[in-house]
């Protein structure tokens, strides 16, 4: 059952005299209890897509197209309708735990207010709900932490609090935007473990956004690869990781450090830069950086072709199996 259906979503910002395109026509579905990983470099549009869904676009940004969540259209929805869904059925965790919590309110009250707003309970019972959640996300000394301020917690703990805050109302879908990027590696794996076990417990769908394929590989059922505001490849995790069709995906895979492979003297990297979001050149956006580029690639933009087992790719010359 599809809970999130994005159809031809376009997001752009108007700056002075130029229009910057962040998302250039993306269609995507997320089924219940499914985990979809969205991979791409900065500027690929992966974050803006979901900011548009949540109604959190910066002023000056506009979204067009359709985003339906559990049947309700989110784009252009009125504030009241959006607020019924946000924080309760549809939740989001951001990448910067250090600045994402309100500095002058206690951790406990920031958790409790979610329950008070959405579940309509009183503050005292919301506080016990908050305590239970802190224990579930394995924050040590939970009772003491409730009364503390965000700056008294480490980055890893703050991210746990953020995740707990998102899960308070048993959401159907959790969007995690680079949840581990700002944390160190040991803490990263802890947070990923937490997401995995919470997902099992609650049975919710997860959208995991990251620039790091390695992070996504551990959790995702399906992976979507984005480049320059468009989807270039999507499929099951197995298909993407072992049978990548798009040269960009292959390059990304090569960039993941491998402890078991032969020892390299140089870390592989992709030459060049993603295209300027203010332009709209013809042809494939990846052409300037592609090792297999042809004339056709530069002139004609490939569309997304869906193959067996829903493995889709947007390339004129997909890589052989």
């Amino acid at each position: 059952m599809t809970i999130l259906a994005i159809d031809d979503l376009r997001v752009h910002f108007d700056r002075r005299r130029t229009r910057l395109h962040a998302v250039r026509g993306v269609s995507l579905e997320v089924a219940a209890a499914e985990c979809v990983g969205i991979v791409g470099e900065s500027g690929s549009g992966k974050t803006q897509m979901f900011m548009a869904a949540m109604g959190l676009l910066a002023p000056g940004a506009e979204a067009a197209g359709s985003v339906r969540f559990e049947g309700t259209e989110l784009l252009g929805a009125k504030a009241a309708a959006l607020n019924r869904v946000r924080g309760s059925r549809l939740a989001m965790v951001f990448q910067d735990p250090m600045t994402s919590l309100t500095p002058h309110l206690t951790v406990g009250s920031q958790l409790s207010e979610v329950l008070v707003t959405h579940a309509g309970v009183s503050w005292p019972s919301a506080e016990s709900g908050a305590l239970r959640m802190l224990e579930r996300v394995r924050v040590p000394e939970a009772r003491r932490r409730l009364r503390q301020y965000p700056h008294e917690l480490s980055g890893g703990l703050r991210q746990r609090v953020m995740i707990g805050m998102a899960l308070l109302c048993d959401p159907a879908l959790l969007i995690a935007d680079e949840p581990t990027t700002a944390l160190d590696v040991t803490v990263q794996s802890q947070v990923m473990d937490l997401l995995r076990s919470m997902r099992r417990e609650i049975g919710m769908a997860v959208v995991l956004i990251s620039h790091d394929l390695g992070v996504v590989a551990g959790l995702a059922d399906r992976i979507v690869v984005m480049y320059a505001g468009r989807i270039v490849e999507s499929g099951t995790a197995g298909d993407i990781l072992e049978r990548a069709l798009h040269p960009y995906t292959a390059a990304l895979l090569q960039c993941v450090p491998n402890l078991h492979g032969p020892r390299l003297h140089r870390m592989p990297s992709l030459p060049g830069q993603p295209p300027d979001p203010g332009t709209d050149a013809p042809g494939c956006a990846f052409a300037p950086r592609c090792a297999h580029v042809t004339q056709r690639c530069k002139a004609e933009r490939p569309s997304l072709q869906i193959g067996p087992s829903a493995h889709a790719v947007a390339c004129h010359y997909p890589l052989p199996a």
């Binding site: 500095p103 979610v114 700056h151």
Partner: protein, 308 residues
Amino acid sequence: MTRYFLKRLAGAIPTLFIIITAAFFLMRAAPGGPFDQDQTLPPEILANLQSAYGLDRPLWVQYGRYLDALAHGDFGPSFKYKDFSVTELIGQGFPVTLELGVVALCVALTIGIPLGTFAALRHNSAADHATMAVAVIGIAVPSFVVLPFLALVFGLYLRWLPVAGWEPGSIRHLVLPVVALSLPPLATVARMTRGSMLEVLRSHFIRTAFAKGLPLHTVVLRHALRPALLPVAGYLAPAVASIMTGSLVVESMAGLPGIGRYLVQGALNRDYTLVMGMVIIYSTLLIAMGLVVDLLYLWLDPRIRFGR
């Protein structure tokens, strides 16, 4: 936290002491004296007067006696208003000035902050531009121009409010002076709040608050307001200084029997004790305001509590 406050209090007292001492010696060291403006008096009478007021003693003795009197709440006799002591004059006028100032400050804050917030929420709309345009007028035009203009319109032409004068406990007489006095700080507070609110609304934690599905009024009042008010808290002491300054003019124009006129008159008459008394009162007020602002900072941003 109380330790921090006590430390600040301990720092404030020497400041006040220095101000009193500096003022005292500066006054005495200056050429001329309080009796110069009177018609030339025969030297014996002048000597008697000086002796009666203790002006013939060595400076150190005078200083000591002054401090001693201060400790007992006695500011000394006024040299010009011969029937009154400075303490009495202050006692008569201070409540009026205090009332005027406090009301003006409250008006500036209770209207300025919501106005600035409103403008920030309606950023770049007609309402925003209109509010900011009015704010510029408030900042640019001095209170001694605003007050007469208001008095003419509302007092003489419309006859809604009295033009000037004062009765104890009267509100009507306070309206125009308060409006004129509060306008500049109100405008500044509105502009500051707007700018600060716009910045805070771009913060990550506000994005989180919206993502939690909190309604707009909760996000603004519970999450955005306190950080946005930090610069306004910093402006409180200058605002009080501005109101104190403005009250000198407003009191005389509106015929309010406050202490402002004593300061000016005392200056023109070279009435030592009166001016000293005024300086002490005003300095104490300002220093007290500084302490209040410190306390306010602690409440607004808990991170400061821990000295970060």
